[in-house]
């Protein structure tokens, strides 16, 4: 894992994101703050501590070839249902040096565990990742 935990303040919110698997799908209802989180990570990645973060969304030029070059990175993909193809999904499965946080609903073709399926939860002003599948 590149990061077990990502923590930062985005007033009035405080984020504490704990990861359980190399691949994390952030799902749940619309309007739970996924794209807002993505925008915060754009700034966070400019810090030394979080410089391994790499961000992709539907605006990224040459997305597929850029993704295929990634190693030892914490890769965040917004709009993943729209932009991921079969080859990208294979790359995610087999490039183990990377960790992934995907804003993605369709999990076809990905090797995942119960700890991969997460939702953003807001308690007070604290935002965390919680398992979507609870046994």
């Amino acid at each position: 894992m590149i990061y077990d935990l990502i923590e930062f303040q985005a007033f009035p919110f405080s984020y504490s994101l704990r990861f359980e698997d190399r691949v994390t799908l952030v799902r749940g209802d619309s309007a739970t703050g996924k794209t807002f989180l993505y925008q915060m990570l754009e700034d966070l990645r400019m810090t030394k501590e979080y410089e391994a973060i790499r961000l992709f969304n539907y605006k990224t030029d040459n997305f597929h070839s850029s993704l295929a070059k990634m190693q030892k990175s914490f890769i965040v993909i917004d709009n993943a249902d729209t932009i991921l193809n079969e080859e990208d999904r294979k790359f995610i499965n087999f490039e183990h040096s990377n960790q992934y946080m995907l804003f993605l609903r369709n999990c076809d073709g990905l090797n995942l565990s119960a700890g991969s399926f997460m939702v953003l939860c807001e308690k007070g002003k604290q935002i965390t990742l919680e398992r979507e599948i609870k046994f």
Partner: protein, 150 residues
């Protein structure tokens, strides 16, 4: 009737990139009071007359709405288009399936509420009713895909 297409088509009449289409085209049309109330319901955002929004994250423009909310507005404001709902959460799909005479693209099922009287046409041939019909159709579809090794 809700028309669902399960195979992606590359056509000018299809909206597959909802954020992009909304930011460039849909958001340039004025919102009706009913559409503003949809935004309030789905994103808990208040839309002003000059198309700014206020949410718990702060102030912004309608371009800062969620992808799900943008998808919903793309469907309502572009009635001739087939719109992908692949990025929509259950809260948005609950609402979308209360609309009528809409065309949407979805490649897999999602769990959400559908009223029993809702008429759904899959791929311009199979007509079913309500959540039970929807779930049965997808069960059969997955059996077909397994047979075809898809």
């Amino acid at each position: 009737m809700i028309y669902i297409y399960t195979v992606k088509r590359d056509s000018e009449d299809w909206i597959l990139r909802n954020d992009w289409y909304f930011n460039l085209y849909t958001c340039n049309q004025k919102f009706t009071e009913e559409e503003k109330s949809i935004v309030r319901k789905l994103d808990r955002a208040i839309v002003s007359d000059d198309m700014r929004i206020e949410t718990k994250y702060g102030l912004g423009t309608v371009r800062n709405l969620s992808s799900g909310c943008k998808t919903c507005l793309n469907i309502i404001k572009n009635p001739g288009k087939t719109v992908s709902v692949e990025e929509c959460g259950a809260n948005v799909l609950d609402f979308v399936f209360q609309l009528d005479e809409i065309h949407i693209y979805m490649s897999r099922p999602e769990r959400f509420h559908i009223r029993e009287e809702v008429e759904i046409c899959f791929n311009e041939k199979d007509i079913v009713f309500g959540r039970r019909g929807y779930e049965n159709w997808w069960s059969e579809e997955y059996a077909r895909r397994a047979e075809s090794d898809l």
